[in-house]
C-alpha cells in the first residue's frame, strides 16, 4: 500500500480502515531496509519508532523521513559528517516537533551531502546515494536520501533543507516534487545550519497537493527562530486548486538563447519551449525577460563566497569538546585540531578555508562584500519583475542527472549561466518549487517555478495546476 501512494490516498485508506497505520509504517520500514544496500537513502532506519496516534490531521499515521540535519531528541543526527557520527541531540527541531504532534510517523533519517554542503549525494560519511531511475547516476544533493526515499516510494514525503538548490535539484533529478518555501516560513530551530541567510527547510513529495498538506502542518511562526515569519491565516490545501487564468509568468531569455553543442541542453530548451505553449493554453501569460549576462554569470561565484563565509562561522562550534567526534590528545589545541582534521572531509575544509579567506580584513571588501552587493542587484531585479509577474519559470536543471563517472566543469560560462539560477531564490528568500516536466533518455527533467516572497500559497496553486496539465505528478519510478 505504501509504495507510490500519495498522502491523500493513504490518509483516506487509514481513515476508512482499509489500511492499518502500524502495518503501513512496517511496510515503509521493510521497503527502506530492502532498498538500503542498493540506493543508500538512510543513515538510520527507525524500525521500532511507531507510536499509536489518533490526531485529526491529514498526516496522522503517514510515514515520512527527515534529512539527517534535523535534530531529533534521542535519535542519532549526523548531518552525514564524521564529526557528528555519534551525536544524539537533546532537543527536537521545531519541524520535527510539529510533525510529531500531527501524528505522522518517522521512518528514518536520510543521507545528505556532508553538513548540507554539496550537490552530488556523494559526500555523506555513510556512502553515496544512487539515483532510483539509474543507479549509475547521481541523485544530486544535498537532500539526496530524502529525494531517493520519496522517489523509491518508501515514504510519500520527506523533509529536506535547501541553501542553494538542495531540495529542488535532487527532486528534479529523481522525478519528484521539491519545495523550498519563503525564507522564514518554516522554522529552522534545531536544523544543523549551513549558511544562515540562505538556509530553508522544505518538503519533497510525489505531488504538489501533498506538499501543501505537509506545509500546512510545518509552517508557522516560531519564537525560537528569530527569522521566522508571522503566521498567515491561510491553508495551502484549500487554495491549491484555485483558478490561475490571467496569471503572469516570465523566463530569463539569456538562458534560453544559449548556443551549445550539448545535445541534452538543447533538448531541455526545446522541451521547455513546448511546455510554454501548454501554459499559455492554460491561461497563463508567459513573457521573456532580460537579465544582464554578467550578473547571471556571477550568481554561482557569489553564492560560493557568501555560503562559505557563513558556513565557516556557523561550524566553529564543532570542536569535539561539548559534542561530536572525540580526541584523546593531552591539550585542548591538539584535541580540536585532531577532531576537526579527522572529522571534516576535504569538501568541507575547502569551503571553510575559502570562507575564512573572504572574511579576512584585507579581502572582505573585494570578495565578501562585493558578493553581497551582487546579491542585492539580483534580488532587486527579481523583486521588480515580481511586481509585474506572479512567477519565474525555468528548467530546474538544463541536463539530466550526471553519471558518477562524468567530469563536470563547473567554472565554464555555460555551466555558470545554466546551473546556478536556483540560488536566486535563496538570495531573495523567494518560494521556489521543482516539478517534473518531461523525460530525456528516461531520465526526468524538472520545471522550476519561483514566486513572490510570502505568497507560497499562490506558487503552490500555480505549480499544482501546471502539474495536472502536464500529467507528471505521482510518477512511478
Amino acid at each position: 500500500m505504501i509504495k507510490y501512494n500519495s498522502i491523500s490516498k493513504l490518509h483516506d485508506a487509514i481513515n476508512s480502515n482499509k489500511v492499518n497505520a502500524r502495518n503501513l509504517f512496517n511496510d515503509s520500514v521493510e521497503m527502506a531496509k530492502k532498498y538500503q544496500d542498493e540506493y543508500n537513502s538512510f543513515v538510520t532506519i527507525l524500525g521500532d519508532n511507531y507510536c499509536d496516534s489518533d490526531k485529526d490531521t491529514l498526516l496522522n499515521g503517514i510515514p515520512y523521513a527527515l534529512k539527517d540535519n534535523v535534530s531529533t531528541k534521542g535519535i542519532l543526527t549526523t548531518a552525514s559528517s564524521n564529526i557528528l557520527a555519534d551525536y544524539v541531540p537533546i532537543y527536537n527541531a521545531t519541524v520535527y516537533e510539529k510533525l510529531l504532534k500531527s501524528g505522522a510517523q518517522l521512518v528514518g533519517k536520510t543521507v545528505m551531502d556532508e553538513l548540507a554542503m554539496g550537490g552530488t549525494g556523494t559526500t555523506g560519511h555513510t556512502g553515496i546515494v544512487r539515483n532510483p531511475l539509474d543507479k549509475s547516476r547521481m541523485i544530486g544533493g544535498s537532500s539526496s536520501g530524502s529525494a531517493a526515499a520519496v522517489a523509491l516510494g518508501i515514504v510519500p514525503f520527506a523533509i529536506g533543507s535547501d541553501t542553494g538548490d538542495s531540495i529542488r535539484k535532487p527532486a528534479a533529478y529523481s522525478g519528484v516534487v521539491g519545495y523550498k518555501p519563503t525564507y522564514g516560513r518554516v522554522s529552522r530551530y534545531g536544523i544543523i545550519p549551513f549558511a544562515s541567510s540562505l538556509d530553508h527547510v522544505g518538503v519533497l513529495a510525489r505531488n504538489v497537493e501533498d506538499v501543501a498538506i505537509v506545509m500546512d502542518i510545518i509552517k508557522g511562526h516560531d519564537d525560537k527562530d528569530l527569522t521566522s515569519l508571522k503566521d498567515e491565516n491561510i491553508n495551502y490545501v484549500d487554495v491549491v486548486n484555485d483558478a490561475i487564468a490571467g496569471r503572469k509568468l516570465f523566463y530569463i531569455k539569456e538562458m534560453l538563447e544559449i548556443k551549445t553543442d550539448n545535445e541534452n541542453i538543447n533538448k531541455v530548451i526545446e522541451m521547455f519551449k513546448e511546455n510554454i505553449l501548454k501554459f499559455k493554453k492554460m491561461g497563463f501569460e508567459v513573457v521573456p525577460e532580460s537579465i544582464d549576462k554578467d550578473l547571471l554569470l556571477s550568481v554561482g561565484p557569489c553564492y560560493t563566497v557568501i555560503s562559505s563565509a557563513e558556513a565557516t562561522s556557523n561550524h566553529a562550534n564543532l570542536t569535539g569538546i561539548l559534542f561530536g567526534l572525540k580526541s584523546n590528545k593531552d591539550n585542548i589545541q591538539d584535541m580540536m585540531m585532531e577532531t576537526r582534521t579527522k572529522g571534516f572531509s576535504f569538501l568541507i575544509k575547502r569551503r571553510f578555508v575559502l570562507g575564512s579567506y573572504v572574511l579576512q580584513r584585507d579581502n572582505q571588501e573585494k570578495l565578501f562584500r562585493n558578493a553581497c552587493r551582487i546579491r542585492r542587484l539580483l534580488v532587486d531585479k527579481l523583486s521588480d519583475l515580481f511586481k509585474v509577474y506572479d512567477g519565474l519559470i525555468l528548467p530546474t536543471s538544463f541536463n539530466i542527472a550526471p553519471k558518477f563517472s562524468d567530469k563536470i566543469d563547473t567554472a565554464n560560462d555555460e555551466y555558470l549561466m545554466l546551473e546556478n539560477h536556483l540560488d536566486l531564490a535563496n538570495f531573495g528568500g523567494f518560494p521556489s518549487i521543482s516539478i517534473p516536466m518531461g523525460y530525456i533518455d528516461k531520465m526526468p527533467i524538472g520545471l522550476s517555478i519561483t514566486g513572490r516572497v510570502r505568497e507560497d500559497y499562490l506558487l503552490l496553486n500555480m505549480a499544482s495546476k501546471i502539474e495536472k496539465e502536464l500529467g507528471l505528478g505521482d510518477m512511478d519510478v
Partner: protein
C-alpha cells in the same frame, strides 16, 4: 595564493589537510578569485549596499522569560568527559 598561505588559513581554523588537498584547493582558489575579480569590475558596484539577509522583516526578539530549561544531565550527555557536572578538559595553564 600559495600553499603556505592556505596552510596558515587552515591551521587558524583548527584543521590540517594533505599536500594533495592543498594543491587542489589552490586550483580552486585561483578559479574563484578570478571569477570574483571579474565581478569587482561590474560598473558602479561600490555604490551598492551589500545585502546580508533576503528581505526586510519585522523581526522581534521573544520576551526575556525563562521557558524550556535543559537538564544538566542532558546538556552534558554528548560531552567528552564530565566531572562534577562540568565538562572536563586538559589543563590549559601550565604549572
Amino acid at each position: 595564493m600559495d600553499i603556505k598561505d592556505l596552510k596558515k588559513y587552515a591551521n587558524k581554523l583548527m584543521f590540517d589537510m594533505t599536500d594533495d588537498e592543498y594543491l587542489l584547493l589552490k586550483d580552486e582558489f585561483d578559479v574563484i578569485l578570478s571569477q570574483m575579480d571579474k565581478i569587482s569590475k561590474i560598473k558602479d558596484i561600490k555604490d551598492i549596499e551589500p545585502m546580508s539577509y533576503p528581505f526586510e522583516n519585522d523581526y522581534e526578539l521573544r520576551s526575556d522569560v525563562e521557558e524550556d530549561v535543559i537538564d544538566i544531565k542532558d546538556a552534558l550527555a554528548n560531552a567528552r568527559l564530565v566531572v562534577d557536572n562540568q565538562v572536563s578538559v586538559p589543563k590549559v595553564v601550565s604549572e
